[in-house]
């Protein structure tokens, strides 16, 4: 049988359904790819035996009605997987084996998929380049010196390198969309509350949201449909009926109003990014959409707001890593306080510690009002910007990132310049909205660039539809050569 791994998820599903390939053959193909792609350092853990067993089970008793029939999937190592090591890219969880399965991965398995392995990511999802992982940086299949983006860098790289037919990531400030943009893939951050957070290692609870990373829009719709849904175990989960996103997918954008926010044209933005944005506008306009210039006046303040809110929540969410109940414990543990301090100091990497300190500081007595409270107020303003504009437009089109993938080590010594990578993605998280990053072209160096489509809350179908129409008319082709095998 032929190797289908360079095809996209829905194509593979079709081949499975029409029995052109068995789940076992497919799984073996991916295992072969993964084994030859060690250089990329995408996997923290592989679960080949489990996958092969599940594939055989499927082939014996196939259920083609499922959304993901017999599909092997690797997932970001931030999702707790039962009896499979879950590290969140951190030394402090280096040996942690959950006895439970996250709701989102459970949903995938209930739809016929099974686990192929756990993908590398920035430590506790804090990073924009996958360089903060305890398990080493991931290499972008686009080029051997390039970062794959972050924090879902293992996910974007594995997907782009055909090591998994689709995958899932989490997005707190751009962690799905930015790596998608850097690897020429599709990344969707759903509306806050659409996918359950239960069983996902928390970074910043009011911002974290899981979402699909795929090769195209149809795949994204299939994956979203499989993974989302109301979960009574998550108090912030939205109670609503599931939508058949893939069945309802339409490529008609006629009459839709697309907003173009002027504040996203930032200083020092490469010309190519601007040109790409223009190209995006033109494609949609030619398809019959109406392009409307809008203003989101507080955009500039989104990133500073984010760097208060996210670290504040993280400093508290990560307090549970204390060496008592699970994970790493320092050998220097003469007394309790020393045990805590050494465990956390040795267990966390520099970026995580930096953010815990920022978060602790902005919440501490005497500084709360000046930082945290202020940020919550600005967050209100940012949300209102979107609310106001969504009275006028159906979706908003922006670049996904201010540049294409940068080189490994290029920004590690300058945290602020690293943070600036998320300048276009962060406002969406602060407002809890859905947004899609679509591959739209390449820069002079041939590195992929993405455009972002932002929708109203729970308007996933609409941005998927717009993305679908865009994708068909954009003609983006991945130019990745398998240089690593």
């Amino acid at each position: 049988m032929s190797d289908l791994t360079n095809q996209s998820l829905h194509e593979i599903i079709e081949k499975i359904k029409t029995k052109k390939i068995s789940s076992l053959e497919l799984t073996n193909n991916y295992i072969k790819n993964i084994k030859t792609a060690k250089k990329l350092n995408t996997f923290v853990t592989t679960t080949f035996e489990h996958a092969l067993e599940k594939a055989k089970e499927f082939d014996k008793k196939p259920n083609y009605e499922q959304l993901l029939p017999g599909i092997p999937l690797a997932v970001k190592d931030l999702f707790c997987t039962q009896d499979v090591k879950t590290t969140a890219g951190s030394n402090i969880l280096n040996n942690f084996i959950p006895s439970y399965e996250s709701t989102v991965t459970k949903n995938l398995w209930n739809n016929g998929a099974f686990l192929l392995g756990k993908l590398n990511c920035d430590e506790f999802a804090m990073g924009s380049s996958n360089e903060t992982s305890f398990f080493g940086n991931v290499i972008n299949p686009v080029g051997d010196k390039l970062v794959p983006g972050g924090s879902s860098g293992g996910s974007s790289a594995a997907l782009a390198a055909d090591l998994t037919p689709a995958t899932i990531g989490t997005d707190t400030g751009g962690s799905i969309r930015q790596p998608a943009s850097f690897t020429g893939t599709v990344g969707l951050k759903p509306t806050y509350g659409l996918c359950s957070r239960w069983g996902i290692v928390a970074f910043a609870s009011s911002l974290d949201q899981a979402g699909p990373m795929t090769k195209n829009i149809i795949d994204s719709a299939i994956m979203l449909e499989a993974m989302c849904g109301f979960d009574e175990k998550d108090s912030t989960s939205i109670k609503k009926n599931k939508e058949p996103y893939s069945k309802n997918l339409k490529d008609n954008v006629k009459g839709l109003k697309i907003g173009i926010p002027k504040e996203y044209r930032v200083d020092n933005m490469p010309k190519e990014v601007d040109e790409l944005w223009e190209k995006g506008k033109k494609i949609l306009k030619d398809l019959g959409a109406e392009i409307i210039n809008i203003s989101l006046p507080h955009t500039k303040y989104a990133l500073p707001t984010y760097y208060i809110v996210a670290p504040a929540e993280a400093s508290s969410n990560l307090a549970r890593y204390d060496g008592v109940r699970y994970g790493f414990r320092s050998k220097k543990d003469e007394d309790l306080i020393q045990m805590y301090e050494n465990t956390r100091s040795e267990g966390f990497g520099d970026e995580v510690k930096r953010r815990i300190l920022i978060g602790t500081y902005v919440l501490s007595s005497g500084y709360y009002d000046a930082y945290y409270l202020k940020a919550q107020k600005v967050r209100q303003l940012i949300k209102k910007d979107f609310d106001e504009n969504f009275k006028k437009v159906d979706a908003i089109l922006t670049p996904s990132t201010p540049s294409s993938a940068f080189e490994i080590g290029e920004k590690t010594n300058d945290p602020v310049s690293m943070y600036l990578n998320d300048i276009f993605t962060v406002p969406v998280n602060l407002a809890g909205l859905p947004a899609l990053s679509l591959p739209a072209g390449v820069d002079q160096k041939g590195y992929p660039l993405g455009l972002q489509l932002i929708g109203k809350a729970l308007d996933e179908q609409k941005i998927l539809n717009i993305g679908y129409a865009f994708e068909k008319n954009c003609g983006f082709q991945s130019q990745i050569k398998k240089w690593w095998s």
Partner: protein
Amino acid sequence: MSKEKFDYFINGEKGKYEVVIGLEVHAQILSNSKLFSGSSTKFGGDPNNQVSLIDSAFPGMLPVINEECVKQAVRTGLGLNAKINNFSVFDRKNYFYADLPQGYQISQYKNPIVGEGKVLLDMPYGSKEIGIERLHLEQDAGKSIHDMDPSNTYVDLNRSGIALMEIVSKPDLRSPEEVNVYIKKLRSIMRYLGTCDGNMQEGSLRADVNVSVRKEGDKNFGTRCEIKNVNSIKFMQMAIEYEATRQVELIENGKGIDQETRLFDTKKNETRSMRSKEDAHDYRYFPDPDLLPLKLEQKLIDDLKKSLPELPDKKKERFIKEYGLNAYEANVLVSEKEISDYYEEVAKLSDKKLAATWMMGDLFAMLNDRGLDISKSPISAKHFAELVQSIKSGEISGRIAKEVFEIMVESGENPKKIIESKGMKQQSDPKELEKMINEIISKNKDKVDQYKAGKEKLFGFFVGQVMKLSGGKANPQLTNEILKKLLKN
């Protein structure tokens, strides 16, 4: 009842000091499962066996609130005549401790579920109102066990995540006795409501005690110290006395008082500074992003209000009016719901006033001796009422009644049967009594003469003789009447 005057001051060398006390009472909510997880709240289970992944804060675990705990807090708030807040927010209180798995306690800081209220105390010097500042919901921590291993501390998380109500009083209390009455009153209200069992041995009711002192007549408060986690009224009282005296001494020696958290050492009966908590003062409260604001519909609050039982203050008023009790009696009989229920059952079937006297006397003494709650009383309310009626009707004397009571305690028999079978009925036949008395008079001629000569004290001697001869069954009133008549002859 005498109107005493309030008189609790610490006497220093340079004057009298008033003690100002505020309490933060932590009351465990009666519920089946924990505040944010489905594990059991039952006391005394095997270590770490009533713990969910949420209570032990595994990665990715999320809280979902228990509706019953919310209702219990609202009921309690209503019982404290407090304002119920339709909008409240859960915050995280961040600090590190071995038995605090999340590294934070979910609590309520700026927007508690219950606002200001009040509690009335009956003190010998009159009724006193204690202000309630607020009531909020929070999680309990686990338990650190320090004495099972010389070099390690063991952690049991069974208690971790159990729902607590923190009830914060205003600094309105002025003496250890007021604290005693306040805690008992709170406990009584919550037990009436069924929101907390008030069991202090099992830690269902604990308090942080804030103490400061000031010169009598001063308007400004002194610097306060907080004594953490005191789990009996006796210890609270001892801690307050010790702490107030310590503060007065510091002031008189010209030293300042540090605002600090202190611990009451129950072995040494003293408070001391808790150094370990020193840097934990900065709790970095912020709204818990895993939870949404709690918005209570007015209808829910109104429905809960309608379903509240009659509470001690109301019941006391009714007891005075309906049963003709005095304030003291009413107070005692409403202190526990079970006691008031028992009393009402007895009062329905017998003399209301006499029932109160006998309950508060012999019944309470017996229960107290045996360490029993009234719910476990060996004498049923019905039997007790029959006993009271037998006294009232003159069938038996008070003295005999005490004997019957003892037999009832041992046998659980009904008093009629006991009186019948033991022939304990009172001798109330005047002819029989006259016969007896004449016999005594004829045997004690000398004493009769002395009596007639003016030694009236001897009257008691004759009564005693009658009682002796009748085996205690002579009707005392009739005996008196007949004796007086016959001794005059």
